[in-house]
Symmetry: C2
């Protein structure tokens, strides 16, 4: 294959010349709207066809000061959660006529943030979706980005004034999970949490704790352990928990990957699930329905989550275009309880 640098783009000017009209007229034809006589339109369309002309969105972006491109910053794309969200973002962006410029962040160090944002702005994105979980309270965000020239939607964070945020209601989900275990007659409900510097992990733990307290049970430190979301860490956590809290008859695990290890360990030790130990996970990954036994879980819809973020962002972009004030929103997406055999005692 020999591609030469010379492989020149057909420009609007060439089309104009070929059709014997001005560039403006060609522009009018390719952008629909504004009237052009049927005859002229025909001639232009022919020229376009013949020359194989494709308008340059890039040039248009520069001239219009609008790129119809959104910047998306994600974290941990190699995990299933974030990529499902990205999938939701991509679908909705497509639907609304935007493309995605994606960038991943690998660690939470503050330096990278500016750089990432700059690289997106340099390419004139119309808005930014920030899907990097907040770790270590306020460390990550709130940082320096006081005044961005484009709107931004933050994902999976606490509500904060001046920003649009889209999050899943982890606290509610945790309550639903724990209450479900109580309803199943569990008397000693443990918890395997996510990394404690993640906001969502803390929320899930709090939901568990509060629900037990409200039910008049006390919560001891030996009743919970934390992992790092991975199955491997779940395996370690459940071992410790079984040792420290042997009377445990139900456990709420902060994500499905870790719950998988709980089920595996139960199998290995001959602990009967759900009768000796009822298990509830969180996330609702597709595979959880085929764990053994099938896992009861708090199911969230990342498609919806990502879609909502795009909707909010595009709303803001449009408001700016029309010089209206942009209202920030806080969207809390509700999870649902998916009851399966791992917890069904009756």
């Amino acid at each position: 294959m020999v591609l030469s640098k010379k492989n020149k783009r057909i420009t609007i000017k060439e089309v104009a010349d070929a059709a014997g009209v001005s560039m403006q007229t060609v522009s009018r034809v390719t952008n629909k709207f504004s009237y052009v006589s049927e005859e002229t339109r025909q001639r232009v369309e022919e020229a376009v066809e013949q020359l194989g002309y494709r308008p340059s969105t890039l040039a248009r972006s520069l001239s219009q000061q609008r790129s119809f491109t959104l910047g998306v910053v994600t974290f941990g794309l190699k995990y299933i959660g974030p990529s499902r969200t990205l999938n939701g973002i991509a679908d909705k962006a497509d639907e609304l006529g935007y493309m995605l410029l994606t960038k991943k962040l690998d660690n939470f160090d503050t330096n990278g943030i500016d750089e990432v944002i700059e690289s997106l702005l340099a390419r004139h994105v119309d808005g930014i979706i920030w899907d990097v979980p907040e770790v270590d309270e306020n460390q990550t965000w709130s940082h320096g980005i006081k005044s961005l020239p484009v709107p931004i939607v933050l994902m999976s964070m606490e509500q904060r004034p001046g920003y649009s945020v889209v999050s899943m209601d982890s606290y509610l989900g945790a309550q639903m999970a724990t209450q479900h275990l109580l309803d199943q007659g569990c008397k000693n409900i443990g918890h395997i949490a996510g990394p404690q510097d993640w906001w969502e992990a803390r929320l899930r733990q709090q939901g568990w704790r509060d629900t037990l307290t409200k039910a008049g049970m006390q919560v001891l430190d030996r009743q919970w352990e934390s992992g790092n979301w991975s199955s491997a860490s779940g395996a370690i956590a459940i071992e410790k928990l079984l040792a420290c809290y042997p009377e445990m008859d139900g456990v709420f695990v902060a994500n499905d990957q870790m719950a998988l290890s709980v089920l595996s360990e139960a199998c290995r030790r001959g602990i009967k699930v759900p009768n000796q130990l009822a298990v509830v996970g969180f996330d609702g990954i597709a595979e959880s329905a085929n764990f053994y036994p099938p896992l009861t879980t708090i199911s969230q819809d990342p498609q919806l989550l990502g879609g909502r973020a795009v909707e909010n962002l595009v709303e803001m972009i449009q408001a700016i275009q029309e010089n209206k004030p942009t209202a920030t929103q806080f969207s809390l997406i509700q999870p649902t309880l998916e009851i399966r055999e791992s917890s069904k005692r009756f």
Copy 2:
């Protein structure tokens, strides 16, 4: 938050005026290279700092006819495999100074293809990575894209003249898996395949079949079933297989998700893994180490796969810049056998 349309960008001209130099000189400073007197450089840098000037990559792309942006077209981003590959692509792109314009394809209908490619070209990507599995032999690709103005790297496809392709050696992996089962003393080795219109699914099946044949065993139709990669489909497949091929003492499953269901079903029926049924999966997803029992699998490194695609693409881009001929490459990435308890009979 009130963002106004007026939120103007600082341009190179403003910096030039502030520093009392020409635009050209500012450009020389921001782009390093080419000499500028130390004194002038200082003044310019100060002005840049003070005004908060950030060069517009967009404008530069137009003027240089080079965007340092790669287009990536993926399929099934919601699954873990494709997103791990995307992750690898993102990492390497970052390393080499490119950004990613991502687009997802949802179905294999040919119409969408042109449109997707056009939308990338309209934004002047320097090259394209096409990570859409080939379904229905030749249907998807080979199509109309006779002559793209930019280089492209195809992923997970057969070698084809005139194109650079990066694929995993599924055939080899399948052979390794099957041979391993033979080595463990299995006499009746079944297979759960992926969807038969996927190239990789066919390869994996062929590797299994050929290995058995070479070992002097015959392969009957009732020895295999196919699913659609999902755990749910794996559950159905293993049920059928157990019914039709009851003497089966080993099974090679085309991906880990489906293998999960095999393990679950075995557990449910009290079939001992690996002694009554040895199981080998494919992909090496992180969770497979925490299945019960831990799954032996053919592990592939999507990070490496994606990275290689970017490397090849960037090489081609650079060759074009330097007006050298671009050589196409076919890269086959080798998988490895990860032996765990699900197959370890001795």
